[in-house]
Symmetry: C2
Subunit: 437 residues, 2 copies
């Protein structure tokens, strides 16, 4: 970790740390590690903060515990905390022991918050003012701070009382615009929008989206200011959370990417396929139950995938809309009944429209009115089942505090397969009994 | 639009405009309109900027064209532009005619950019400096501006040349920290990250995520600064885009919510169900082709949904990962081959694992080794088909410049249905011919 910079590094050093991290990650692990060690420690720290989780164990391995401690000091505590899980436990303790006690305490206190809470994503370095300071004093303070350390993009300054409790907010704009002798207490805004350290990161993202702020203060249970979350940090999280729902729905871990090695992916995908297999056996058992009916009239087998497939597609439409709105907080659990009424109405209309076409095809193909009517009725009933499953399953999962997206597409298509086969073959048996076939 | 405030409005006026908009939207249209007219015009304008698109025609209807022109002047041009499509064409012209020419020109020039481009989401009100100004002069300028109009949260100031071309960036922090007599040209950062007005909003969101900036300058084709995008605006967009992909995948318009009236939803959902129906007929035709085979051995019908369903589930897993990574820019079109290799490997392993179970069940249930082997082979082949379809379909849609998410789940499950039925029944025919059954 030399601070003398060899010539071949100079072009790299002109890059933004995020871009530099991208470049390093494309290199083989040893080469990336060797380059990282040659960077000035401030840059190396910034690159580590931007690097992908999967690459961190290799990248961190090239540093001694003392070097790691130095790197941690260059980083916001939140970023330092994010690096820790990627170190072996023994090295983690060594590195933390080498960090000055106050910084180490800060890092440890941050580790109390879950990774996906406001406390887990916040930056614990913020600038707190007292209300009896003047605008000029604050300007002085900021100048002094800026010489000692790199101050990240700051949009707001927070005002706390003697106990560290948040009492107001001042924007940097105010410091520029206001007269030098004005007191902070006079110019600060007391109506501060805030989040709690234990709030879920999803709720934090929603606040940003609703109020369009550049940053939000984070308070602990005692109303003390403990950190700040930036809009751009919430952005990265919100995108990941939103797309995670897509993955959960189809039975995927949110951490898999297109180029994740197959050895890692297999352990996460196969279990869901096996669960899906169990449900497929349930659907197949319904067909097995009616095997003698199919033996009498094999044309029935041709219609089975149509009835079930249309139900599955409609159920996925309903499910996707419900999950999205639950995730974005655009419907509350109390709206379930209204959503269900809407979906049942859509199911009825779609079922009649699609069912008439399928029924007509059945009638024309085999010249059997009974086959057509059975297909129509089964289609309508299965569209209603799809609507009900698409609403009830995510709301139900939410009620028992499970992520509404979790493998819900498997559950919904199980309902539409089982119900579709049962309605169609069951109605066919009745039609045969009444002599229709 | 009286500026005298009745007592019952006072509690409402203490709310943030975003919250006030939420409250108003829950009221019947006339009541909301009446309240809106009583708000001070600055507040009314801010509420309109926060209101939901669907409510805008009703809310805007209560104002005369002159009143609308006054409201537009209270808003950033970008927000004013967003309101225009919700006015009838004649009123739009009247309102624009009543806006002072320079603001109207600004609004009209913004209308050139597509709604989902950087130009469409940017705020065209920004503070541009010249490089020969001193820090003190800039402070004076900002103070003067702040008295005339409400300056939104500003994190950066931009430096332009005589032609309005962007040459540098100064953060508000610099204005606080730097000596009053320093020249902007000396302290500005010349290495500015920027976006083009025609860039897709998705690309803008990706820049924010990558660099963690609070704002990004927007340049036109002549490198002139034309606006600024804030991180929090990009956040709202990114979340919506990400969840839109989920909806597109299953054949839904991105604009439908859980409580969208069914009359509006039906016209958007039914066409996709009908397309799905066409593909279902294709799959059914495969079964119809093998009807005589099923007549000989109806147990085959029981296995059809298992082979097809497992393929559909695996295909959805692959598809979801590819679409997510394409949307987040985490894989490039050149990575398609690597992703395909990974998915085929997963398909082989999953196919063998699931196929062995299904084959064993088939063997034990009917005592036919041939049935078990046919089920195993069809399962492996269909898992490989699912992997190929899950990669090739989204990459193919992207190559022909169609959104890779568009109804792609319908295409993928068509492949897995058709291929699953064909492999299973086709192999069964071969097995029968060889005397296996």
């Amino acid at each position: 970790m030399s601070d003398h910079i060899p010539a071949h590094l100079e072009t790299l050093l002109k890059l933004h740390p995020a871009d530099l991290a991208d470049q390093l990650q494309r290199l083989p692990a040893e080469e990336a590690g060797a380059l990282l060690r040659q960077l000035p420690k401030e840059t190396a720290a910034a690159v580590l903060a931007e690097a992908e989780k999967e690459k961190l164990p290799d990248l961190l391995a090239v540093f001694s515990s003392t070097q790691l401690a130095e790197l941690f000091q260059q980083l916001p505590s939140g970023d330092a905390v994010d690096l820790l899980p990627h170190l072996p436990a023994a090295r983690r303790r060594e590195a933390l022991a080498a960090v000055p006690p106050d910084r180490a305490g800060e890092v440890k206190s941050l580790m109390r918050y879950p990774e996906d809470s406001a406390g887990g994503i916040m930056d614990s370095r913020f600038i707190a003012l007292r209300d009896n300071m003047t605008v000029e004093q604050v300007r002085e303070l900021l100048r002094a701070r800026a010489q000692k350390e790199r101050i990240e993009d700051v949009a707001y300054l927070y005002v706390t009382d003697a106990q560290g409790r948040l009492v107001g907010i001042v924007s940097l704009r105010d410091l520029v615009f206001r007269r030098a002798d004005r007191r902070i207490g006079e110019i600060m805004n007391r109506d501060v929008k805030l989040v709690r350290a234990t709030d879920d990161q999803e709720a934090v993202a929603r606040q940003f989206e609703h109020y369009h702020y550049l940053g939000l203060p984070v308070l602990d249970a005692g109303d003390r200011l403990v950190g700040v979350v930036k809009a751009s940090d919430a952005l990265a999280i919100a995108r990941r959370e939103a797309t995670e729902d897509m993955q959960l729905m189809v039975g995927l871990s949110g951490e898999e990417r297109a180029l994740t090695p197959w050895r890692k992916a297999i352990g996460r995908r196969l279990p869901w396929l096996l669960i899906n297999l169990l449900t497929a056996f349930a659907a197949a058992a319904v067909i097995g139950f009616f095997e003698s009916t199919i033996a009498k009239w094999t044309a029935l087998a041709v219609f089975l995938p149509i009835i079930a497939g249309q139900g599955g597609n409609a159920g996925m439409q309903t499910l996707t809309i419900i999950i999205r709105d639950l995730a974005l907080g655009e419907i509350s659990p109390g709206d379930g009944r209204k959503a269900l009424a809407k979906e049942l109405m859509l199911g009825l209309i779609n079922g009649l429209a699609v069912g008439l076409i399928v029924g007509l095809v059945g009638y024309l193909w085999k010249g059997s009115l009974a086959l057509g009517l059975v297909a129509l009725a089964a289609m309508v009933l299965n569209q209603l089942a799809a609507a009900a499953a698409g609403v009830v399953i995510p709301f139900g999962l939410k009620a028992i505090r499970v992520d509404p997206a979790l493998a819900s597409s498997i559950f919904v298509t199980t309902v539409t397969d089982v119900a579709g086969f049962f309605f169609f073959l069951g109605l066919a048996v009745l039609a045969m009994r009444w002599g229709g076939f």
